[in-house]
C-alpha cells in the first residue's frame, strides 16, 4: 500500500504555477509534507483528495488511479481540509451520523457505535448535543478529525491540521493521528517543523511548488552532523555575517541574535558546533534552494 505521485503539475487560471513536476513515494505510516505558506502544499493535498484537477502527471494509491477513479478513492479517503466550515444549526452527533451514512456505515447499530467512539476520541462526547454553530475553532477542528476518521480510511490527507490549535489540543490531535498511522497512509502537511519531528517516519520539503528534499527525518538530521555551527551576535552584525557565511536561520534570544551557519568546517572563531535538529534540516534545505 503506497501512494505514488509522479510528475504532478498544476497551474491556476491566474497563471500561478502551484506545483512543478512533483514526484513522491509515500509508504504506509506518517508522512510529513513540510513547507512555508504558499509552497503548494494545499494544492497538492486538494488534488490527492479528489477536489482539484491536476494538469499533468499521475497519482496511484493501492492500484487506484487517483486522478480518474475519484469515486474509488473516496471510498478509502479521509480528508481534513485546511479550512472548512460546518452547518451551524445541527448538533455534532447528528451531523457525524449523517456523514457516517455518506461514508457507507449504514447499519444503525454500527453507526451509533462509530459515532460514539469518534466523539469520545475527539473529546466531543460531552458537547455532542450542542449546535455546531456554537463550537470554538478547536472544537470544530476536532469535529473535522472525527469526520475524516469515519470508516477507517486507508488514505488520510491532513492539511495544516495544527495551525489553529492550542498546545494541549495539538498534542491530543497528534496522538489521534499517530494511532491511525499504524496501518494507513497518512499524509500530513504543515509549516511547523515539530509536527514532523514528533510524528513522521518520512518527510518531504516543498517550496514554490517543487520538492526540495525527500528523506527520513532522523537520517536527514544525522547527515547534518558536524555541519551546523552556532554563534551569538548582536543584531547589527548580522548583514556582515550573512555575506561571509551560509546563514540558515536566525533566532532572537534575550535581545541578541543566535545564528546557525552551515559549513563543512568551522566557519571561524566564535562559532561552536551544535547538535543539528530537524529545524536545521529544514532551513538548510530552504537556504540552499534559494541560493541555487
Amino acid at each position: 500500500m503506497e501512494l505514488l505521485i509522479r510528475g504532478v503539475s498544476k497551474t491556476y487560471a491566474s497563471g500561478v504555477q502551484a506545483l512543478k513536476d512533483v514526484t513522491l513515494t509515500i509508504p504506509a505510516g506518517m508522512y510529513g509534507l513540510l513547507g512555508p505558506n504558499g509552497a503548494g502544499k494545499s494544492t497538492l493535498m486538494r488534488i490527492l483528495a479528489t477536489l482539484l484537477e491536476a494538469d499533468s502527471g499521475s497519482v496511484t494509491f493501492a492500484g487506484i488511479d487517483v486522478l480518474t477513479q475519484k469515486d474509488d478513492v473516496r471510498k478509502t479517503l479521509g480528508y481534513l481540509p485546511q479550512e472548512f466550515g460546518v452547518y451551524p444549526k445541527v448538533s455534532a452527533e447528528s451531523l457525524l451520523a449523517h456523514f457516517a451514512v455518506l461514508k457507507g456505515v449504514t447499519g444503525r447499530r454500527a453507526r451509533n457505535e462509530v459515532v460514539e467512539s469518534l466523539l469520545r476520541k475527539t473529546n466531543l462526547w460531552d458537547v455532542r448535543r450542542q449546535k455546531l454553530g456554537g463550537y470554538s475553532g478547536g472544537m470544530r477542528q476536532r469535529f473535522g478529525v472525527a469526520v475524516a476518521l469515519l470508516g477507517n480510511p486507508a488514505l488520510m490527507i491532513v492539511d495544516e491540521p495544527t495551525a489553529g490549535l492550542d498546545p494541549a489540543e495539538r498534542v491530543r490531535f497528534l496522538n489521534l493521528l499517530s494511532e491511525l498511522g499504524e496501518n494507513s497512509v497518512v499524509l500530513l502537511s504543515t509549516h511547523i517543523v515539530e509536527d514532523v519531528s514528533e510524528l513522521c517516519t518520512r518527510m518531504a520539503i516543498i517550496d514554490k511548488g517543487e520538492i526540495l528534499l525527500e528523506a527520513e527525518p532522523q537520517r536527514a538530521v544525522k547527515d547534518l552532523q558536524g555541519r551546523i555551527w552556532r554563534r551569538v551576535i548582536s543584531t547589527d552584525a548580522l548583514p556582515a555575517l550573512e555575506r561571509e557565511h551560509t546563514v540558515i536561520s536566525t533566532k532572537l534570544l534575550a535581545g541578541r541574535t543566535v545564528v546557525h551557519v552551515y559549513g563543512d568546517a568551522s566557519p571561524g572563531p566564535g562559532f561552536e558546533p551544535v547538535e543539528p535538529d530537524l529545524e536545521d534540516v529544514y532551513f538548510s534545505t530552504m537556504t540552499r534552494a534559494a541560493r541555487s
Binding site: A49, L52, V86, K89, H98, V101, L102, K103
Partner: protein, 266 residues
C-alpha cells in the same frame, strides 16, 4: 440508501429553520387576504367566493408570490455546502452526483409542496370563518381545491424548484436562484404578453407561463361567463395540460443538465 439519507437530513434541517415556517406563514396570510378580497368581489356580483375560478385566481397570485419569496428552500438545499464551506467534507465522501443532487432536490421539492399547502389552508380559513353570507358561496367542492393544488401548484413547484435548484447548484450561490426567479417571472410575463398581444398567438403565450397566471388572469377571467367561472374546474386538459407537460419537461431537462455539468472537483 444514501439518497434517502441525504433527502431525510435536508428535509429535517430545513423543517427546523424558522425561515421555512415564515414562507408558510406569508403564503397562508396572502391566501387568506386574497380570498377575503374575492369575498368582497362576490358581494359586488363577481364570481362566487368559493368558485373554482376564485380559488384558481388566489392560487396563481400566491404561486407568483411563492416563486419570489420561496427561493431560499431550493437555493439552500443546493448551495448550503459551499456557503458554509462544508463542501470539502461532503465532496470527498463516496456519494454519487445522482444521490447528492437527487436527495437535495427532492427534499426541496417536498418542502416547497408542503409550504404551498399554506395556500389552500388560507383559502379555506377565509371561507370558513363566520361572516361569509351563504348567498355568495356555492356548494363546497373539494375537487376545486384539489385541482388548484395538483394541476396548478405541484407542476409549478416542480419546474420552478428545478430551475432555482440548478442555478444555485451550478453557481454555488443561493443568491443566483433569487436572481433567476425574478428573471423568470419578468422575462416570462413580458414574453408571454408579447406573444399573445403582439404576435396574436395566445396558444403559445399560454405555454410560456410557468405558473398558469396567463391562463387564469389573461384568458379565463376575460372569456369565461360568470356561470362557467362558478362551475367549471380548471382541469388537466387542453392548453393547461399542454402547459403543464411543457414545464415538467423543462424541469426534467434542467435537472439532467445540472447532473451533467455539476462537478465535485474544480
Amino acid at each position: 440508501m444514501k439518497l434517502r439519507e441525504i433527502f431525510r437530513f435536508e428535509l429535517v434541517y430545513q423543517a427546523r429553520q424558522i425561515r421555512t415556517w415564515l414562507y408558510f406563514a406569508v403564503l397562508f396570510v396572502a391566501a387568506y387576504l386574497v380570498t377575503k378580497n374575492s369575498i368582497e368581489d362576490a358581494r359586488n356580483g363577481a364570481a362566487l367566493a368559493n368558485s373554482p375560478f376564485s380559488i384558481a385566481l388566489t392560487t396563481v397570485i400566491c404561486s407568483l408570490l411563492w416563486v419570489l419569496i420561496g427561493t431560499g428552500v431550493a437555493g439552500n438545499a443546493a448551495a448550503r455546502d459551499v456557503k458554509t464551506r462544508m463542501d470539502p467534507l461532503i465532496y470527498t465522501t463516496p456519494i454519487t452526483k445522482a444521490d447528492y443532487l437527487g436527495g437535495r432536490f427532492l427534499a426541496a421539492l417536498v418542502l416547497n409542496a408542503l409550504i404551498l399547502l399554506a395556500v389552500p389552508a388560507g383559502i379555506l380559513l377565509a371561507l370558513l370563518l363566520p361572516g361569509v353570507e351563504p348567498g355568495i358561496l356555492g356548494p363546497f367542492r373539494p375537487a376545486a381545491h384539489l385541482s388548484a393544488y395538483v394541476v396548478m401548484m405541484l407542476p409549478t413547484a416542480f419546474a420552478v424548484t428545478a430551475i432555482q435548484f440548478s442555478l444555485a447548484a451550478l453557481n454555488g450561490r443561493a443568491a443566483v436562484s433569487y436572481l433567476g426567479s425574478v428573471l423568470l417571472l419578468v422575462g416570462v410575463s413580458i414574453g408571454a404578453g408579447a406573444v399573445i398581444n403582439l404576435l396574436q398567438m395566445p396558444a403559445l403565450g399560454k405555454l410560456l407561463d410557468p405558473i398558469g397566471y396567463v391562463t387564469v388572469i389573461g384568458v379565463v377571467s376575460k372569456t369565461w361567463t360568470p356561470i362557467e367561472k362558478n362551475t367549471l374546474l380548471i382541469a388537466m386538459q387542453g392548453s393547461m395540460l399542454a402547459n403543464r407537460i411543457v414545464w415538467i419537461a423543462i424541469g426534467v431537462c434542467v435537472l439532467a443538465f445540472t447532473h451533467r455539468r455539476f462537478r465535485y472537483a474544480r
